[in-house]
Symmetry: C2
Subunit: 202 residues, 2 copies
């Protein structure tokens, strides 16, 4: 690309460093920002500046937070005895959006994946085990993606705490609500028949 402005070039290069934004998209974004009387660029610039300087992780659940302890962990209306274990902050937000969970979280920050060289010590498992061993947890809900890596992670955590007095469950797996059976993959459909639940239990 031939830029007539170094400033524009640097803006495009920096935006293009973001995932799934190519050079052409970055250029479109930068030109949009130029045409926008600078308001948006100033706003984004300030927000990202704050993001780099002020964001921190909750010491208890490892979710992003503005303070040492996040809003959810600090809330008196949540049940700290029920901990939902998730892979990422995005999962916390997805579960919060459902409004169906009143406990607290533990963000692993990844899952065990030997292929990618991610072992148990690379993710926040030790702090989870410490939380459980301190006796602060009654129930652990594993809300981990139903993949081989996810199952490995659940199995590993399970092994580590099998002697502790804590109930462990995983989120239900099966066909999606509103989904059509014929389009469900074989594994999901097969498993959802094998793990069928009594009709009254619904």
């Amino acid at each position: 690309m031939n830029f007539t402005s170094k400033v524009l070039e640097e803006a495009v290069e920096s935006l293009a460093s973001l995932p799934s934004i190519g050079k052409k998209s970055a250029l479109r974004l930068a030109l949009h920002l130029i045409n926008d009387n600078n308001e948006k660029s100033i706003r984004i610039s300030k927000a990202l500046d704050k993001l780099s300087s002020e964001i921190t992780y909750c010491k208890q659940c490892h979710s992003v937070s503005d303070d040492e302890i996040c809003k959810i962990c600090a809330s008196h209306s949540r049940n700290p005895k029920v901990v939902c274990v998730v892979e990422s902050i995005r999962d916390v937000m997805a579960i919060e959006d459902t409004g169906q969970f009143n406990g607290v979280y533990h963000v692993l920050g990844g899952i065990i994946s030997p292929i990618e060289g991610i072992g148990p010590e690379d993710i926040n498992i030790e702090t989870l085990i410490n939380r459980i061993k301190s006796g602060a947890v009654n129930e652990l809900i594993m809300a981990i993606s139903p993949t081989i890596e996810g199952d490995t992670t659940i199995y590993y955590i399970n092994k580590k705490i099998e002697k502790e007095d804590v109930v462990i469950s995983t989120i239900a797996r099966g066909v999606s609500f509103g989904g059509e059976l014929e389009y469900a993959d074989e594994l999901t459909l097969g498993r959802s028949i094998a793990t069928r639940i009594p009709f009254n239990n619904r």
Copy 2:
């Protein structure tokens, strides 16, 4: 979306104000930036800050520029007598990328579009006419999109300067190089037959 951090929320909101970036993409970008040890966010923040404070438009051709007169207009190796008229800065960059043009540009900043309420006075036509009337231009190449609005704009400019001593041309329109005839649209194919050029002229 339920955010556990105000700082993250503001970053997501600001990124989502960009075109074609929804809230979910913005969240993905923000979390990517958090995971990236802040280097990228600082770089983007600085680049956009500069973009809002330092960018300016070339007084002559209205392209983005770091100075009063852009690199292209200021260059001694370019022919200032040949002016290529384009709709946007993106077109300048696209033509520069071809390496086939050695003149200078005039960026209209839009095209005449009565439906969108854009008239001749809303785009940089007056300064173009002044450039031509000052006698500084020998040839005008209209590199405007071949749409109704584009043709209207070309026609309008043509009318305004028909008494001036300047050669006007439009970029060639026809089937794309490497394109297959059967996939070209009827209008393009029909026009490219009507405006066929002698074989030796290629």
